[in-house]
Assembly symmetry: C2
Homo-oligomer: 429 residues x 2
């Protein structure tokens, strides 16, 4: 395999997910790809996830011992998965004649806060990486993990290995951070739901951030945010072949031709309502502070006052956090004299994203029309400058998606956005 | 379960092997035992091996990628086994209501040299352990692993977790280092070979060191040596029940009543001969230096000069090291003009050990007589102050063992050496 790479690229961070390193045979394939890249004179730092379903297996082992494993010990346990896969990848590279060395997150000084199982990276010290690169080594780093100032092992939560890769790319001044995946890029919609969905050649950070936040699994929003903050160019491409995938980078003029670049959805959230709140300042803040203190992120929020001084508050949050959120909300409600707290897990959030929305009024209206045409009702709606999200019943999802896809003619997006060989080439204005 | 413990014990290091933590259920059992010990006011530091066959599984995974995995990466890989088991044990203790925290070897500052896969502990910094004990935590430490000054993860080789436990006991000034195992102590011979073999109540460090070096699996000689050097009292006892096992400590007068305390054997070695050496000074040194440089330990050595100025050199070394040793020896032999290098893997080493040998002449002669009676031939013999080893053909092993056992009346040893309730009690002189 000869790997296509822009000629100006001299240092690259590649991220390989768990499915790319699920077996010894796949690890050898990845090793081969890395060696090919290294042979054309590019310094490679590869970040790997745990093999296949290792993380889930470790978690279920923990659950056989402890219904609710303590987060600190869970991090100790789960971080072994990436440590093992990065050692194996370094071995594979050596067995194919390359020079490689593996490091844990702790060893390279990925310093995080102490929020075990969902730690945030504070800084990347990068111990040993530059020295190893200078000596001609390919450097393999265990994704998903770091350590606190007090040498406690932490993990970064969902999308953690993506975040490791982007943070390393920023710290090492890499020319690009490649995410190698079993998809060949970012699509206008989920190809499993919309077969005609097409790969996008390029997206702005803002667009990718919205798509990721709204359910596109291919990149975690925290990774996109980190890339945006540090100007790290992302390239999402297939680990199976050699074609270019989707570039994510600063917004450029050419990107504005289409108001909507992608359609996405998310079924991982639940809708929660706190009823009969006094309609006065500070009530919502009290509720969201209590949830934030428990590290629960809240999304689409609607405060719905239909009865004068009494109001209902609805919002979405991850289904996984529901067991933690409901007792907190019910205790608060009891203490403050609010009404019932209800939850609905049968929801889906459908979103359209596009930087062009800013200059194309009426996008939200077209989305509601598309929903109405397919007889789908939406009870929570949230908009930003570059996205519109609607919360619908999950049973309506398969009806809603094609209708919206068609409304925005997403089939033709890739043509409009096609870019030439490399990001370094000039774009048509 | 109520754990019997001497009333003066206030801090203990316990070591649990892989078979004691092979399943979540067994881990919970171990957790329970630790909690019981902790409840009677004893500070517990527990050192654990990897679960069951984890280490072997990891090594065979590595071998599917790389015929001969590089040692540094092998350490990265294999050390995950103990990290996982110590996290799981800490979880188990917490799930049963105890307070526990787990640490890797790196985290507690078990500093080793850089001889990957067989590193030696240089010092134990013990970061965080005393602080955690003071706060009432049970401390779980991953066995078998450490790190170099350069933050490289190392493993300690065979018996590594035993060594970790003894080194921690020394560093923490523990009253005793307990090895919990599926046997109930140290026996006069291998019970699988000699059904009437009996548990010994006490042994001196020197005796245990010889027994371990000569094949007794229950404690690794490096662990015994470390205990001897630091005066750490060892207690080998069953993890399944609560009875006392075998104490290993300073030699005392009572121990001298029997010339031989144990019979042991080892089938893990091969016999190597370098033929036709010039019989002049420095030749053997050259050969053994070359092997030592490759970290290969040589045991029973016989220089057999039957032909004037030409001599043959035979010795034993671990079968595992044979693939590494033979090319080294053959290269040296070719360069120096020595003769052929031969190897025989079908050997067994049978040994008797006892501090009393020093004051009982004729022990070696009795051993040879016992071998002769069972028509077993020995071609390499090695003696020390407190042991006699004979290398025999492995097919003769099952004939040789009962004959020697009977010759030294090992059946009656435990009675002679029986000691009362606790090591702290006065011994009969």
């Amino acid at each position: 395999m000869s790997v296509k790479m822009s000629s100006s690229t001299s240092r690259i961070v590649q991220k390989y997910g768990g499915s790319s390193v699920a077996t010894p045979e796949l690890i050898l394939k990845v090793a081969n790809r890395i060696i090919e890249t290294s042979k054309i004179g590019i310094e490679v730092v590869a970040v790997v996830s745990a093999m296949g379903s290792t993380t889930n297996k470790l978690i279920s082992l923990a659950k056989r011992i402890c219904g609710r494993p303590p987060d600190r010990e869970l991090d100790m346990l789960v971080s072994t998965g990436e440590q093992a896969s990065c050692a194996l990848l370094a071995m594979a590279i050596q067995s194919l004649g390359g020079k490689a060395v593996s490091f844990t997150g702790s060893q390279v000084g990925i310093i995080t806060d102490a929020a075990h199982t969902k730690a945030r990276i504070l800084k990347v010290e990068g111990h040993g990486i530059l020295e190893a690169l200078e000596k001609g080594f390919i450097v393999i780093v265990a994704g998903f993990q770091g350590m606190t100032d007090a040498f406690e092992i932490t993990t970064l939560g969902r999308g953690g290995s993506d975040i490791t890769a982007v943070a390393l790319a920023a710290a090492l001044n890499a020319d690009v951070c490649e995410k190698l995946t079993d998809e060949d890029g970012v699509h206008t919609a989920d190809p499993r739901k919309i077969p005609e969905a097409r790969r996008l050649d390029a997206l702005s950070y803002e667009e990718m951030l919205e798509l990721s936040s709204l359910g596109a699994k291919v990149l975690h929003p925290r990774a996109v945010e980190c890339a945006m903050n540090h100007g790290v160019k992302l390239h999402v491409r297939s680990s199976f072949h050699n074609e270019e995938g989707t570039w994510i980078k600063e917004e450029e003029a050419y990107m504005e031709q289409s108001p909507v670049c992608g359609l996405t959805y998310d079924v991982s959230e639940a809708k929660v309502s706190v009823l009969e709140l006094p309609d006065k300042p500070g009530v919502a803040a009290k509720i969201f502070s209590a949830l934030a203190a428990a590290q629960i992120n809240v999304d689409v929020i609607v405060l719905n006052n239909t009865r004068g001084t009494i109001t209902d508050l609805s919002f979405t949050l991850p289904k996984n956090d529901l067991d933690k959120a409901l007792p907190i909300l019910r205790e608060l409600s009891g203490k403050e004299g609010y009404g019932a707290v209800t939850a609905n897990t049968n929801i889906a959030k459908v979103s359209i994203v596009g930087a062009g929305m800013r200059s194309h009024p009426g996008v939200a209206a077209r989305m509601f029309e598309a929903l109405a045409r397919s007889e789908v009702n939406s009870n929570l709606i949230s908009t930003s400058e570059i996205k519109v999200s609607c919360v619908i019943s999950d049973k309506d999802l398969d009806r809603a998606l094609p209708s919206i896809y068609k409304e925005f003619d997403l089939d033709s997006v890739p043509e409009k956005r096609r870019i030439s060989k490399s990001m370094e080439a000039k774009m048509p204005s």
